[in-house]
């Protein structure tokens, strides 16, 4: 059965139209990634309207192309100008730019492109192997477990909040509120419409997303009149020739670095709210620590490009894995992908891979194929991509705004959606000016309906709310996700105070011990063993720190190394 689904998915992806769309998507992602200020999330959001008229797999394959292309496109501007195209490529510039300035831009680009390729392939293999296993776990979930899972996903807003936690949380809750406007999904009752006919059907997800994120971002990019008229990048070295063979040889010589960085990327991708922007720096840091010549990092060393680029592409596989297996978005891009699936009437959940096997395998295959497509496009069209970055921002902004309008209209052939874009465009820009983060609001908009729906289902099965909080034995998964949610809310403080406050020494062991408790009540002996191992590790870590006198030196060294 699995093999049949796989071949069916393979056939669907290798259709000429799907392949062409993937080429287009990857190309668009490469261009968007190469433009400083354009994030991958924005590129994926802007692609969404074009995918409505397509069958789900075609649309998703196109968006996966944009995702993979965007991750790799960021390295071009990072290496050639020192300005990372996306936050996922920040660490790439540490060694990529010095190498390019030292006269080897072709090798630097080659290393970046091929590291992205191999990192992506490793995570694609992990995605295929591990996602179904995770999904099998999900089949054990009951309604309360689902609700706790969505609550846990909502706590990601705390991590997406940035410097002002309160503003981020408020933005997230406003996102939830926006989704309550209009007819509710459970009882079909119109609510919070203030008697306006146009509000009875509520706000469509996509116009809200485009207004908040894309419209607001574009206007922020052209805010300064002088800067808006300048080309995005002046010296992009269009005569560069990528040294593919030399790059592949160099990467194979550093295969341990490649594997380590890819696994770091996958792990970070699985963690909620920890995307490519974290994994590329973490992998760079680990590569430097493991190197025999750490002093050469930052001077244009190959390992300094291989580590971040393989990690950030591997992160995409990790994020897709957790999205498809459990239905929760690991980061903003995954949240947008979740929205895309919902638009195509596909609701990711723990039963997603079982119920939509062809689509799930199709996504795996598309993610795998997007990487060779990215390599091909980058090899052939590098010059063209770099030329796009010479276009002034105001030109791109005007054209993209019009494209947003065309795409959003196509959603339901309704001008109401276009007005929604304008209204949320004003809100998005005002939020930027007032320093409210947008990402938590988007997460709220995406997860709002899911949270309410799951609460209603759970409440219908058992309305005893106290049981849901206290019963470890009856609903261990629910307790597991709630505890995870509690620690997820505290994680930004942990990151902020790491190495400075002594309580941070207890945080991770305490989390491991707390998560072990509900695991003792789960089915099977493996989980009991894992729980015991977690508990033992937590006890050992605490004992070790106690024996060391609760010193913070090691962390301080680590922070100093990261800052350096």
């Amino acid at each position: 059965m699995m093999w049949e689904n796989f071949t069916e998915a393979l056939y669907a992806v290798f259709q000429l139209k799907t392949m062409l769309l993937m080429f287009l998507g990857t190309g668009a992602g490469l261009i968007a990634g190469a433009i400083p200020g354009f994030t991958i999330a924005m590129a994926v959001i802007l692609t969404l309207p074009f995918t409505f008229a397509m069958p789900p797999l075609q649309g998703l394959a196109t968006m996966i192309g944009v995702f993979v292309g965007g991750l790799s496109g960021g390295l071009m501007s990072g290496i050639l100008t020192g300005i990372p195209g996306t936050p996922s490529s920040i660490a790439t510039t540490f060694d990529g730019f010095p190498m390019a300035r030292a006269g080897r831009p072709g090798l630097a680009l080659g290393l970046g492109v091929w590291s992205s390729f191999f990192g992506g392939l490793i995570s694609a293999v992990a995605l295929v192997l591990l996602a179904p296993l995770l999904a099998d776990l999900g089949l054990e979930f009951g309604p309360w477990d689902y609700f706790s899972l969505v609550l846990f996903a909502l706590t990601i807003t705390a991590s997406l909040a940035g410097t002002n936690m309160l503003k981020g949380l408020i933005a997230g809750v406003v996102g939830l509120l926006i989704r309550t406007i209009g007819e509710d999904d459970i009882n079909g009752i119109a609510r919070l419409d203030f008697g306006m006919e146009s509000l009875k059907s509520g706000f469509q997800f996509l116009p809200v997303l485009i207004g908040l994120f894309a419209f607001g971002q574009l206007l922020s990019d052209v805010k300064d009149r002088v800067q808006a008229r300048q080309p995005l990048m002046k010296d992009t070295g269009v005569a560069v020739k990528v040294e593919h063979l030399e790059a592949i040889k160099t990467i194979f010589r550093s295969w341990i670095n490649l594997l380590r960085s890819s696994f770091i990327g996958i792990f970070v991708g699985v963690l909620p709210a920890a995307g490519g922007s974290i994994s590329n720096i973490l992998a760079y840091d680990q590569a430097k620590k493991a190197s025999r010549t750490p002093e050469k990092f930052g001077t244009g060393i190959a390992d300094g490009i291989i580590a971040p680029e393989s990690a950030n592409n591997a992160t995409a596989g990790g994020a897709l894995m957790i999205l498809m297996a459990l239905g929760i978005p690991g980061d903003l891009v995954a949240a947008v992908m979740l929205g895309a699936l919902l638009i195509h009437d596909v609701a990711p959940s723990p039963t997603f891979i079982t119920e939509n096997a062809v689509l799930a395998y199709g996504i795996f295959i598309a993610f795998f194929i997007a990487h060779p497509i990215m390599i091909m496009l980058q090899a052939v069209c590098l010059r063209g991509f770099l030329l796009v970055t010479r276009v002034p921002m105001y030109t791109l902004a005007a054209v993209i705004l019009a494209y947003c309008a065309i795409g959003v209209f196509a959603l339901e052939n309704s001008t109401h959606d276009l007005w929604t874009v304008l209204i949320f465009g004003v809100l998005g820009y005002a939020m930027r000016v007032l320093r409210f983060p947008i990402a938590p609001m988007i997460l709220g908009v995406v997860l709002g309906n899911m949270a309410e729906l799951n609460l209603s289902r759970a409440y219908a099965t058992a309305s005893d709310m106290t049981m849901f909080v206290t019963s470890f034995a009856l609903r261990p998964w629910s307790a597991f996700f709630l505890l995870l949610g509690v620690f997820s809310v505290g994680f930004p403080w942990y990151q902020k105070e790491y190495g400075r406050k002594k309580w941070t020494l207890v945080y991770i062991p305490a989390m491991a011990a707390a998560l072990a408790l509900p695991m003792f009540f789960m089915q099977g002996s493996v989980r009991t063993f894992v729980a015991a191992a977690l508990l033992a590790w937590a006890a050992y870590a605490l004992w070790k720190r106690h024996a060391g006198g609760w010193k913070l030196e090691a962390q301080e060294d680590h922070i100093a190394a990261m800052k350096e």
């Binding site: 459970i186 919070l192 009149r225 705004l401 209603s456």
Partner: protein, 161 residues
């Protein structure tokens, strides 16, 4: 008033808006058969919003008034945000005239006028803007109309012609 800062004003606006929404939840019809009423979730969300916004309000009041900004009054504010205001006005105009001009003509006009408002205003620049506007919109219009078979608004002018 002297102690008010931008965050305080924001918090007050959010609280006021939240209050209006909370009042609106009392007008949601109750269904006898529903295990969880349609008003429950919005109220849960709004209670959370009130709690967070009050914390934000206290935080902002403790901070004291804003430092002296860029100033310039209303004209200074318009000057600072003129590009964004142009875009909103032109996008609004584009939507308002969509039924008359249609997506092809209206979209081309919107792009041309936005480029003219934000970009340089020389004869050469106008020619480039016109070419960019027409080519970009005609290209995307063709993809949606002929490739994806989406019927975009034709507009009264185009229909009559």
């Amino acid at each position: 008033m002297a102690r008010l800062n931008t965050d305080t004003v924001c918090a007050i606006v959010i609280l006021a808006a939240g209050g209006v929404f909370f009042w609106a939840t009392f007008h949601i019809p109750k269904m006898g058969y529903a295990s969880l009423g349609a008003e429950v979730w919005p109220r849960v969300v709004l209670v959370l919003l009130f709690a967070l916004t009050f914390a934000y309000l206290f935080q902002s009041l403790k901070r004291g008034p804003d430092e002296k900004g860029e100033g310039g009054g209303v004209m200074g504010w318009i000057g600072r945000y003129q590009n964004a205001l142009w875009c909103y006005a032109l996008f609004g105009g584009f939507l308002y005239t969509l039924n008359y001009l249609g997506m092809l003509i209206g979209g081309t006009l919107f792009v041309f006028l936005t480029l003219t408002a934000l970009g340089e205003r020389t004869l050469r620049a106008h020619a480039v803007h016109a070419a960019v506007a027409f080519i970009s919109i005609a290209f995307m219009w063709s993809i949606f109309t002929y490739g994806l078979k989406v019927i975009l608004p034709q507009g009264e002018i185009f229909s009559a012609w």
